[in-house]
């Protein structure tokens, strides 16, 4: 299926480019997930990456944070190629971004306070008292108070996300990555998390990259959106531009009649079913 690809688009915000992807390809065995992604993200911009399951959103995010390596092309954060073999070279870069994982990924054997203070202990020379104050401040920023001594297992899904967010901003990052921040949350808590994402972007001036397929949430928080389909960016624009895009509209409404995004090749099913006979 040939899908007309948009030209790589200049980011809407005016800040410097903090993430630059060029011709990024990623395969698992024979299966190519990303087929050449070109994408720039600028400082202060909130970019939402949308797309269905299995179309490469989370893979692209993992390449950006250096958790996986691209098979071809380049992913640069602050000008540093993330595709290097020696992870130690990426440590200075990794200290400049935070990640909120889909499952929150809180360290289960540590208290809430320890989850946040760990990064400060490991990456700064701050005094213990200062670290304790920063932990309280970060928790306050995400709307939590007096829960430093709780264990992650004692928290609700929404609270875990908030703690994960407090940990992500512990080192005052310049970029925050969000992997499905709304997964498993009810609409009220999701709206609160969205407000936090918007607030952190505005107050801290960070670039936010949000991977999601929660459409309401995406339009609420985005400055700019891209739609991934079969490992390619097939739409890129502001929320207003995206609403007018037929492919995005089909995706939003979950329609199977909305052009190439909903089209499905059903030929050959009988042969598959009967083992090629």
């Amino acid at each position: 299926m040939d899908i007309p690809l948009p030209e790589p688009r200049e980011a809407t915000a005016k800040g410097e480019v903090v993430i630059r992807c060029r011709g990024v390809k990623k395969s698992y065995g024979e299966r190519e997930i990303l087929h050449g992604i070109d994408l720039d993200v600028r400082k202060g911009e909130t970019l939402v990456i949308m797309g269905g399951s299995g179309h490469g959103k989370s893979t692209l995010l993992r390449l950006m944070i250096g958790a996986e390596k691209a098979n071809a092309g380049s992913v640069e954060l602050f000008g540093q190629d993330m595709n290097v073999k020696n992870d130690e070279l990426l440590y200075p870069i990794k200290k400049r971004f935070g990640v909120l994982f889909q499952s929150s990924a809180l360290y289960g054997s540590m208290t809430v306070g320890e989850n946040i203070s760990l990064l400060l202990e490991e990456h700064t020379d701050l005094d213990r008292k200062i670290i304790d104050i920063i932990v309280k401040l970060k928790l306050e920023q995400v709307g939590l108070r007096r829960c430093e001594d709780l264990m992650p297992s004692e928290l609700s899904g929404g609270m875990r996300k908030r703690v994960g967010l407090a940990r992500a901003i512990a080192l005052d990052p310049e970029i925050i990555f969000y992997d499905e921040p709304g997964a498993g949350l009810d609409p009220v808590v999701l709206a609160q998390i969205d407000q936090l994402i918007i607030g952190l972007g505005e107050k801290l001036g960070v670039a936010s990259i949000v991977v999601t397929h929660e459409m309401q949430s995406a339009f609420r928080i985005a400055d700019r959106m891209v739609l991934l389909y079969n490992g390619r960016i097939i739409a890129d624009g502001t929320p207003e531009e995206m609403r007018a895009n037929p492919a995005v509209e089909a995706f939003i409404h979950g329609r199977s009649d909305g052009g190439e995004i909903g089209a499905r090749d059903g030929s050959g099913f009988v042969e598959d079913l009967l083992g090629g006979k």
Binding site: G66, K94, K95, A105, Y107, E122
Partner: protein, 263 residues
């Protein structure tokens, strides 16, 4: 025949890739405990101490139970055979040499494979499934330095320590049987036990315990780190950690004993 060869080939590749991952973990362990400490990445000794309590102190009851009962059972068996030759008093000698050289390290190693190896694989595997390892990496914290080094240090210290206790408990089980049940003289038991033993027996037992500790620690950690999928993957890793550890311990035991015999 082709199927058999193919499955043997697949098994060989699986073992090969597992051993390669073990070698990578050992390399990482050596790097983070030596070179990296000069680069400003200190060893997390407080975490190693916390793990030592979990690995060592909490395993003492099971180490006691198994070694004590096997010691007592062995004493009955050996005494019965030696009685045929009128040499029952040498039971203590067999107990001493047997437990120092062989049974103490082997039994404790196998107990630790089940107790510690399985727990390491399950813990690290669950962390991997829950994206905690990725979260560490994304925060510029190496999982080997952060998780594997403290745990491996704890295992390397506490398994030999538990082995020492195991040997003492095993011999004590034999002592209870020989003196309390078979009516041997207590002083003679200790004299007979110590007489045939030399430093080689103690050294061999301790060398084995360090080797078995390495096997249990590295196997458990690697199985945890290579978990794929969800709960099913964690379950498989836990089983593999125990099975692989026991097999490697038995093979290593034979190799060390054979090497000692011919050296």
């Amino acid at each position: 025949m082709t199927d058999l060869l193919a499955s043997v080939g697949r098994g060989g590749i699986a073992i090969g890739s597992f051993l390669l991952e073990c070698a990578q973990l050992v390399r990482g362990f050596l790097y983070w405990t030596t070179i990296a400490t000069f680069k400003g990445y200190p060893i997390r000794f407080h975490e190693a101490a916390r793990q030592s309590v979990r690995v060592g102190v909490k395993s003492i009851p099971i180490v006691f139970l198994v070694n004590f009962f096997v010691g007592a059972t062995l004493a009955f068996t050996v005494a019965e055979i030696l009685n045929l030759f009128g040499a029952t008093e040498y039971t203590a000698a067999v107990m001493g040499v047997g437990f120092w050289r062989e049974l103490g390290p082997l039994l404790t190693g196998i107990i630790m494979a089940g107790y510690v190896g399985a727990s390491l694989a399950a813990e690290i595997g669950t962390m991997k499934v829950g994206e905690e390892l990725m979260a560490l990496e994304a925060s510029a914290l190496d999982p080997v330095r952060f998780l594997a080094v403290p745990r491996l240090l704890a295992v390397l210290v506490m398994v030999p320590a538990a082995t020492l206790f195991g040997i003492i408990f095993g011999i004590y089980g034999g002592y209870i049987v020989c003196v309390g049940v078979l009516g041997q003289n207590a002083t003679m038991f200790w004299d007979q036990m110590i007489e045939p033993m030399d430093k080689v027996d103690i050294r061999l037992g301790m060398i084995k315990s360090v080797i078995f500790a390495s096997i249990v620690g590295v196997t458990g950690l690697v199985q945890g780190l290579r978990v794929r999928g969800g709960a099913e993957g964690v379950g498989a890793a836990t089983t593999n950690a125990v099975v692989y550890s026991i097999i490697f311990i038995i093979v290593a035991d034979l190799l060390v004993t054979t090497f000692h015999y011919f050296s």
